[in-house]
Amino acid sequence: MTNHWIDMINADVVMIMGGNPAEDHPISMNWLTRTKERGAYILHVDPRFNRTSSIADVFAKLRSGTDIAFVGGMIKYAIDNNRIQQEYVREYTNASWIVGDGYGFADGLFAGFDPAKKSYDRARWVWALDGQGQPRRDPTLKHPRCVFQLLKAHFSRYDVDTVCRITGTPKEAYLRVCDLYTSTFAPDRAGTWLYAMGTAQHSHGTQNVRSYAILQLLLGNIGVAGGGVNAMRGESNVQGSTDQGLNNDILPGYLRTPVEADTDLARYLKRVTPVAANPQSVNWLQNTPKYVVSLLKAWWGEHARPDNDFAFAYLPKLGQGFQGQGYAFLALTHAMLAGDVKGLFCVGQNPAVGGANARLIRAGLDKLDWMVVVDLFEHETAGFWKRPGVDPAKIPTEVFVLPATSAVEKEGSIVNSGRWAQWRSRAVKPIAACRPDLEIIDGLAKAVKRGYEKDGVFPEPIRHLAWDYGHEADPHKVARELNGRYLADVTQPDGTPVAAGKQVPGFAQLRDDGSTMSGNWIYCGGYTEEGNLAARRDATDAVNGIGLYPKWAWVWPMNRRILYNRASVNRKGEPFNPRKWVIRWNAEKKAWEGDVPDGAMPPGEMNPFIMLASGVGQLYAPEMVDGPFPEHYEPVESPVRNPLSKVQSSPCAQVWQSTEFDRYGTAEVFPIVATTFRVSEHWQTGAMSRNMPWLVGLVPSAFVEIGTALATREGIKSGDRVIVSSARGSIEVYALVTERFQPFFVDGRLIDEIGLPWHWGYAGIVPGDIANDLTASVGDANTQIPETKVFLCNLRKKSPT
């Protein structure tokens, strides 16, 4: 999130789209209840009326996969009705920047598309430069090639009738949403945008989020109290996991993983260190070399030296991946199926149930030589070799199950969606042989290091690993390393000397000469000589009373609670909304008050989006691989021709077609749109919750939600057994017939949509068929996140035998 959970109370309008917090983040409802009490409106946009919709002021339904049409229409509505925060847009976004002649858009494609490679030549989308090599600008926003005019032209096709024709939203509800939400353009009103997997898990998921960011920038809602683009993270500590770089393409602190072409440190740093686009850009990531070197020093200690490139050669480098498709989840599962993966560590994950195209995944598990599962229960992945329909004798995989402890049985921190790192004590001792993940990984690393002591291929990266978290791995030691410390006596810029061994007070003090180490630069400042700031529990609010609670736990970066908060003030440091100010410049004291300012310099020329090379919010984003503006395309499996352009679905989406499991269906055979969802009572694949008898008693069996219209046509009543099928498989579940899920009137006809909760598998107290057996291996163009939220299916009542 750019903001945080408690900040919701500052919103005048809350948009919840592609998310269901009442069921999937119920604790957050405390804040949404309070903001409603203060008079805020809650808008819920979703294919089905669910428990979040029940407390919303306006529910507007939309057909799965049409978010860009919906929000594109809101962007047009804002522009047409002049609901733009003018000063904000002019000063703090690239609205005034002029795009070069290479950019264009026609017939559903941006300029520079290569159909053979299914990719764009993004060099076509660059800026028009002036004599100094800076992007040219028109502060009046009238130049026909300025971003604002190009944005306006791009979304001019998203009029209300066209949008509702695509999304199936009733026009009245749509207009009410547009009116209410765009009212937050006023400087004294704020709109917060909450979203989750319903937004992200699409072939154009990243562009979905882009559309939210564009609208929020136009309305002046980024960096302000009650605003922001706020992802409701899907797992308890997924925020922590991405912060620590668990994804294949990032290192801790969202640094980029090196690739094969990065043959030395200098080459890598040159590639990944952004250059400021203009003198008004702070371009904070110009400090990347300090963070990379400090990371290398944390990992290889004394073996990372200036004369050996700080052991840069020890870092694994990304190649092209399986079949040139990279290393993300879809590529990994296909590599497993092809027999390319010998062993798998499956830690706190249950891909046999939770992954897209789950039948493909289970078939891939059959090919492993060995697998180590670390989890609380023996779930479907741990027991894949004894799943229904399979003969264990024919599966050669050696499976190890290491029982892990739950969060309450170990000490450590969890980072919530709002970037709040909250330290917890151990509440109860682990039972039986269960051990914390940290101990398991520590034991493994020590054993591997011992193995590499005598020999091994390229042993140095392991032998030289600086690994010391105690005889019994101590989370405090890990946290202290993430913060980092001085490795030599140094003198600070202000002249104060600091002794080696002291914790570094913040990432501004990290250095690229090997005198500092830090396991994760964004956590530098969280465990200092002051102590473990994540363990603080002081519930005193800050002077501006907007729910920052600056002494409760610790927030990255540097305890800054609202990111980009310099965009909440004008160039003189005066808040746009004095009633709910985030920061303000005290001219007498010559200091900022309120939240930690996002950039400590006094008010003036420097721009607020300090983490972007441009320094300003990106209405136009040429870094995206599939277009600088979002454009509506249909999902890869769709029941309608794209009414907006000749391009049916995202031209850059990763669509796997190489295996027998990679089949796709058409609307002739599979006329019904399907989506997946979760319920309050179960958690993800049910690995924990379907082993809890009380929870199973509330929601026992796998089911599908079907609207009354469709159910009546098919002769289905609630409680009937039905078969739901897609091109990839079929499952049998109970039917739940409901008024809350009605067909969409799209392009002149009614399209049915159904919803499947994906919590069930063959393990647990009550087994059930796996909903992800029906989803496909389709990945978003930028991130390869699977398009599990929309696909085509068919259904019929199971005939009694």
């Binding site: 009442a22 428990r51 309050s680 009380w694 509330l698 008024e739 809350r740």
Partner: protein
């Protein structure tokens, strides 16, 4: 933990804030050590389980789909003991197994229960449930977490509710708060506090966005406390019996006198 004020307590059940998550049901089961339910599917519109309160479920969230025109709505209600000011169950119970305490809860003493089910007949809200599966059956109902309240804690349900749909405090304060909510957001609530006046007033005050009968509540209850309906007559009982004794005693005396008089006259007929 704090020492509670000695004033009687109440809860607000604000259904406009309820998201139907059932944390209250699970917390209640946990605190009261109730076993899990063995279910196969759902028992009501939506995800409701079980169909009604029972010996293992002292509180229940009802799922109600209400359609207005083309607009669907999902409204949740909660069933639980109302802890009446003048409980009919306590009045009907022959063994005083049910008693109203000063702090508000109508508590149940299991060791006194003879399983006669008079309380089930008496309760206007149909709350006490019988443990039909047990060879030594008792009734079961919400305890208002009387033990927690006495220790200065909130009931288990009020503690876990994530939205603040359940509030807990002194009854006076809860009544004032319920009225304040209706007054400040009239478009959100129907202007009714269920439990304020019903059967003489209760300790659980429900608020709703739709009429209560649409979300499974028993409505149309009188304002008179239930015991009053019978008390009017039962109150007379000792007088009635005294009168009966007096009348028959007098008749007996008269008859006795007559027969002894006729004896002394020497009637030998």
């Amino acid at each position: 933990m704090t020492t509670p004020s000695a004033k009687p307590k109440a809860m607000i059940q604000d259904n406009t804030r309820c998201i139907g998550c059932r944390a209250c049901m699970i917390a209640c089961k946990s605190w009261n050590n109730r076993p899990a339910d063995h279910t196969e599917f759902f028992a009501g519109a939506g995800y409701q389980n079980p169909i009604d309160l029972d010996a293992n479920n002292y509180t229940l969230i009802t799922f109600n789909e209400i359609v207005t025109g083309a607009q669907p709505d999902w409204v949740f209600g909660r069933q639980l003991c109302m802890h009446c000011e003048h409980p009919a169950c306590a009045s009907a119970c022959p063994t005083t197994a049910l008693t109203k305490t000063a702090l508000g809860p109508v508590v149940f003493n299991e060791s006194r229960c003879i399983g006669c089910r008079a309380c089930m007949q008496a309760c206007p809200f149909l709350i006490p449930k019988y443990d039909y599966e047990n060879l030594n059956p008792k009734i079961h109902k919400c305890t208002f977490c009387a033990d927690r309240i006495e220790a200065g804690l909130k009931p288990a349900c009020a503690t876990v509710c994530p939205t603040g749909a359940i509030s807990f405090g002194d009854r006076d304060d809860m009544v004032a708060e319920a009225k304040r909510r209706i007054a400040t957001a009239p478009g959100t609530y129907i202007p009714e506090i269920y439990g304020l006046d019903e059967v003489g007033g209760t300790s659980v005050l429900h608020l709703s966005s739709v009429p209560f009968e649409q979300i499974g509540y028993i409505t149309g209850l009188p304002k008179t406390p239930m015991p009053d309906l019978t008390h009017r007559w039962l109150r007379v009982t000792p007088h009635f019996f005294a009168l009966l004794y007096a009348v028959f005693g007098a008749l007996t005396w008269i008859m006795h006198r007559r027969s002894s008089r006729s004896e002394s006259k020497g009637d030998t007929m």
